[in-house]
Homo-oligomer: 209 residues x 2
């Protein structure tokens, strides 16, 4: 099973790495990180770069495509070469997936029309621009072969869900045990519905300055 | 606040990236990824490399040191130059932290003697070799300025806990909301206590082949 992970400048690292840590452990999985050009791709905080081992024109198919989000998504929405690549690879996939604002890229590529999809809370409504039906109540939304996750850390839940379908429940659970995904957050502020107005206000400041 | 993240060959990516995604968002945080040499450092699955922007000899202090784990830990236990670096930086930190088998490196550096500490379930007992007291019941163990997390994904919980102490509860919760850390794993097999014997057996096969 070939998994292609798209990278682009100012992506959010955990969007890509959370699902990767699960999916790459499926027996037989081969993962390729890909970007416009081979080499390091700097993330949204600028303090970390991940290496793309393949350029987009070296990857023409995948069983699973993973598109992360991040502040860099906006700049990519108008990149026709990138959107073309997403469409071309999507034509070959069993699963086309996104985390966070990565779903906007799937939308801009025309893949979510008439479909239920989710995104980070900051840009959930934008999905409507692309003919998708924004779905905020679920952390992972599966519609046909399109699986979209809410913000950043939701990609881990997405990947475990997909691993169950791809490799069976026992393997998915074994990978959950390998990465000790027994979450015990010290706070309960992980969604807009659960966070206080004060916390939401500070999150907006951190996000938009 | 300066945060140094140690990289070495065959580290587990989420060990480093989970805490990074939280800690790097603390206002005023500066993160530097560091390794024996500058440049890409390949992870445990070999399909991803993270860039070290600084060599170890370029980093002589940090407010927070983060040591990830992974299959590569074992090879580093005998690397005196690396252990010396850990000791030197530790002498300058407010917090010295690890995820997964990273705690074995803190132990080998002599930093956990007489302290409670945790690790991935696969190597929890090994902590005793270094005079530490293995503590398997807690996902995050804080003893003095030493904070160790259980396997892989536990680093996210560790980082939120530390963020609360470093920047206050509201900021920690705002970062939790930013990364939408409202975990909803589709399975409940994230710890040895919760996984079935069949799942634990498969996890051991995935881990040790």
């Amino acid at each position: 099973m070939r998994i292609a992970v798209l990278l682009y400048p100012e992506f959010t690292t955990l969007d890509a790495v959370g699902p990767y840590e699960v999916l790459s452990r499926i027996p037989g999985a081969e993962v390729v990180f890909t970007a416009a050009e081979r080499g390091p791709v700097r993330n949204d905080m600028s303090s970390l770069a991940l290496t793309a081992d393949a350029a987009l024109d070296e990857v023409d198919s995948a069983d699973l495509l993973l598109v992360p989000g991040g502040p860099g998504t906006n700049a990519q929405l108008a990149d026709e070469a990138l959107l073309d690549w997403v469409r071309r690879v999507d034509a070959t996939t069993t699963w086309t997936t996104s985390v966070c604002s990565g779903s906007l890229l799937l939308g801009a590529a025309g893949l979510l029309e008439g479909r239920r999809a989710t995104s980070h809370w900051c840009c959930l409504d934008e999905l409507s621009r692309f003919g998708a039906e924004p779905t905020g109540a679920e952390r992972v939304v599966v519609d046909g072969k399109y699986a979209t996750a809410a913000g950043v850390s939701a990609g881990i839940d997405l990947a475990l869900t997909l691993t169950g379908r791809l490799a069976g429940d026992t393997t998915a659970q074994a990978i959950q045990l390998l990465i000790e995904y027994d979450p015990q957050p010290p706070y309960g502020a992980g969604s807009l519905a659960k966070a206080s107005p004060e916390v939401a206000a500070e999150a907006n400041v951190l996000l938009f300055g």
